[in-house]
């Protein structure tokens, strides 16, 4: 390689690599170091405390509760979202059957895809305000208003969607599902369209019904996309910061009485409100480890023989 070429390569790399090192890699590495200190963030003086932050962490009832909530999200958000997205994607791509016996989507599938996907372009902050209004705990809230109109909820006792310990997590899950279904629907649709039509037609000739076609053909051939979706939704379930911190009660959310707390909200409260930087760093490390474990476990658990077509 000529000398000029080296200079060119270096010239192109220097700015991106420098930015990346300063703002991404170095902070990531520093977190591990700070998590072993009692740093308060105000001063530059701190002392090494070993694993004290971590032992404190696992005696912190609020943080343990938060981990538990993240695990609940981890179980329910991917399952519900993927099932709904698969169902809709199948309906839109192969659910309709014309009289000629061919395989096609139901009428208006393009329209449905546009509508379903739209929540994905909205920011979670917009979602937080929107669902804050939908979940209002009086007759002015859309959901309570609707249930009252239908006579399912008494005027005097509206449902406190975001203030009832047993309801709040489900209310949050509903928002994430509402937001995500359209996205995974489009993802699965793209994968379904890659499945050759003759496979469907062969199944049809063999007399396979819709359910059969779905479980024996579509799902196995879609497995790669389902796996990807599972990992992505799992990572989203480990986060949940915006929705919890803006929709639920308390400073940085988590209410009522820590019943909707997630790891991210506990961490941000400790960092921004209490100034416990070292402790917050330890939480960041735990979040990383749990996220990595989740990704690996999910990839393992969903591993199947790859089918070429």
């Amino acid at each position: 390689m000529r000398k000029g070429q080296y200079r060119f390569v270096a010239g192109f790399l220097i700015v991106p690599v420098a930015l990346y090192l300063i703002f991404v890699i170095w902070p990531y590495l520093q977190t591990f170091g700070y998590s072993l200190t009692d740093w308060k963030g105000q001063s530059q003086t701190f002392s090494f405390v070993g694993l004290d932050n971590y032992t404190a962490l696992f005696q912190d009832d609020i943080f343990l509760q938060a981990i538990w909530h993240n695990i609940l999200f981890l179980v329910f958000i991917p399952v519900i979202t993927i099932l709904l997205a698969l169902f809709f994607a199948f309906m839109l791509n192969a659910g309709g059957r014309s009289r000629a016996g061919g395989v096609s989507g139901v009428a208006g599938s393009g329209f449905y895809k546009i509508v379903y996907f739209f929540p994905q372009v909205l920011s979670l902050a917009i979602l937080a305000v929107l669902f804050g209004a939908v979940y209002r705990s009086d007759s002015g809230g859309m959901l309570n208003g609707l249930l009252m109109k239908l006579g399912l909820v008494d005027e005097s006792g509206p449902v406190e969607w975001l203030n009832e310990p047993s309801v709040v997590l489900w209310a949050l899950i509903a928002v994430v599902v509402w937001h995500g279904v359209g996205f995974y629907l489009v993802l699965f649709s793209a994968a379904m369209q890659a499945i050759p039509r003759d496979i469907y037609e062969a199944a049809l000739i063999d007399g396979a019904g819709r359910a059969h076609t779905f479980f024996r053909i579509t799902l196995p051939l879609l497995w790669d996309s389902v796996q990807t979706a599972w990992v992505y939704l799992g990572i989203a379930a480990m986060d949940m910061f915006i929705l919890v911190s803006t929709m639920t009660a308390g400073e940085y959310g988590g209410g009522p009485d820590h019943h909707s707390e997630v790891m991210a909200t506990v961490m941000m409260r400790n960092f921004l409100l209490y100034g416990k930087s070292g402790y917050a760093c330890a939480m960041g490390v735990v979040m990383l480890l749990l996220t990595l474990i989740v990704s690996v476990v999910m990839l393992r658990a969903t591993r199947r023989e790859r089918i070429e077509f």
Binding site: L122, V129, L204
Partner: protein, 310 residues
Amino acid sequence: MSAPLKTASPGDSAPIGPAVSRGPVEPRDERGEGVVLNVFSHGFLVLWALMIVLPLLWLILSSFRTDAQIGGSAFGWPQNWSLDVFSRAWDKGIGAYFLNTVIVLVFSVPLTMLFGSMAAYVLARYQFWGNRLLYFFFVAGAMFPVFLALVPLFFMVKRLDMLNSYQGLILVYVAYSLPFTVFFMHAFFRTLPTAVFEAAILDGASHTRTFFQVMLPMAKPGLISVGIFNTLGQWNQYILPTVLMQPQSGDDPERYVLTQGLVQLQQQQGYASDLPVLFAGVTIAMIPMLVVYLSFQRQVQAGLTSATLK
């Protein structure tokens, strides 16, 4: 359902045509089941579409209602048909938040694309020591949760004296968008033909010039997808500005971005009880997204879903 085909029993060697005319009676109940299933599943599709559209529509309409109306009942028909509420929301801060977001994105998105494609191009097209290592180093960044970096990042930006400044947020946005941009553009530059590149070099173009005038224009489809992805991602970013864009002292002006501003407005309006303003603010924030989405619907869907195809 597939009634015409099914009437031909296995082993029936007659051509399909006659078979259809032969057995019009037999599959009747199956067809009935199909219709029920069709109504059922179509009903589900319509229901979900309504569940998406109605809350959004309800929110937009609510900005034309009075505060008393909003508190009283969820479904009072709006009576206050004036655009006054939107200008009030704009003055209450939405205008400034909107402008802040635009200022940041005008710089951060092009810079992300520029630096991202420069790094991706060099990594994809040139052999040098440490190439693979550098590539993995970039891609690995996409795997870690941003929370892991937040605390030291805050102090890093503070040390650079860039807290609550546009340039600080721009640089951080660029840095955190690099992993995906490099990953995607790297794959894209690999698919481009070598012949054009060689022709340009033979014609005496420098490497830099070849990149900007030959390779970059050829990568336009990839640039559009990643560009849309980055624009939406940075427009909707909330955690980074929450940490980095807080006024640092009493006389430090507020430079909230739109997402932060909306949450701020929500908290204020809860006490000030001027909910129409909040809803109008959300409507204002939603409209550009709606316009972009409807005009580039296909590219947006492709751009966003391609992010997961790692």
